[in-house]
Symmetry: C2
Subunit: 214 residues, 2 copies
């Protein structure tokens, strides 16, 4: 066997071992389970809750967002309703309802899996508040799995904004989530966001830790 | 470098390549999504539906099992109910309710993830039928992910009854399920069974194909 071949093989083995070590020592991320919720524009807040109304804070979330005291009822194309959907503040430039795939079946809406903010052509839904109703022609999505990170976290984990990674949960129901989007922003606290379907299917709860495996 | 070392390295590389090929060409299995359902003893059938009552077949399932026309309402410790839970036939030696983790939260029961039939110490639940009620002191479980296989399928896939494998779904929501139990029986048709949480979290529907990756 030529020396060159031996060196090539050795290199391959070392890389393989490196990948195996990376797998067992991957970057750890705490999980936040997102229940169904809605983001609203100020205009829609006023339609639903009354002229001049401002959302009121119930609980701070990460990145300057907060759960509001206000809730709405949403109704899909099959005229089935889901009540007590939490409003998240502050108000946004476009209203957006984030629900689980289970919810889409209950409502009878064909919501796509999308990154937050990417609502073009997403599902329509009716939203009912105590003072009025709105009909969103689009805006109903299933949130794509993602990890919020500060630039420092991203550097430590060796990933970049927009990367798609896989994440492993080592528990009784052991699950690997592929197609997890990395989102990096100065305002972000390190957290992986999954929805209630994903949490229930993998037996993960808020605060559990998962591992980025590539 | 000694000849022995070169051979050892070569062997490691070949095994690694073998595993990589196995990963990309793994054994394919169709999926069946299991909605919540209940198995009953004949005694419980008669308590719920009337003396001398026999379950009636609505639709054949695999392995001699069938969905029945009969349904029940189940009520958990928080006195919340889930209606229209399908009964599966034929009758069994022990009654067993299989629900999703989402259902356990609605019902307020701490059901464990278990293989079918392993109900010792599982959660209690009340079951209501048109002619009577039963209180199962145990029997409410979340079904463990599993694959039904004939002995020939198992041989082709290179797995054995009782093995724990991982299964990969290559779709938009890309997910790997670890902790999947292999169950081999002459009466079994090749199928992976997951519950509605797992199906919704991974965007898999009945008939989709997944791949055994180890």
């Amino acid at each position: 066997m030529e020396q060159q071949t031996v060196e090539m093989i050795t290199q391959m083995v070392l890389e393989t071992i490196g990948r195996m070590e990376e797998r067992s020592n991957g970057y750890q991320v705490p999980v936040g389970v997102s229940a169904r919720h809605i983001h609203l524009t100020q205009e829609h807040v006023e339609t639903l809750f009354g002229e001049g109304y401002h959302l009121t804070k119930k609980k701070d979330l990460m990145g300057g967002q907060y759960a509001c005291n206000e809730t709405v009822t949403v109704v899909g194309l099959k005229l089935r309703a889901i009540e007590n959907v939490r409003v998240l503040g502050p108000v946004r430039k476009a209203s957006q309802l984030e629900i689980s795939a289970t919810d889409t079946m209950k409502l009878g809406v064909a919501a796509p899996v999308r990154e937050s903010g990417n609502i073009a052509g997403s599902a329509p839904v009716a939203v009912v508040g105590p003072k009025g109703v709105i009909y969103l022609k689009e805006g109903c999505i299933i949130a794509m799995r993602h990890i919020h990170m500060s630039p420092a976290d991203a550097a430590a984990a060796g990933v970049h904004d927009g990367d798609i990674v896989s994440v492993r949960a080592d528990n009784e129901r052991g699950t690997v989530f592929n197609q997890v989007k990395i989102r990096v922003n100065d305002s972000f606290t390190l957290e992986m966001h999954i929805d209630t379907d994903e949490a229930n299917a993998s037996k993960i709860k808020t605060g559990d830790r998962v591992t980025i495996i590539r």
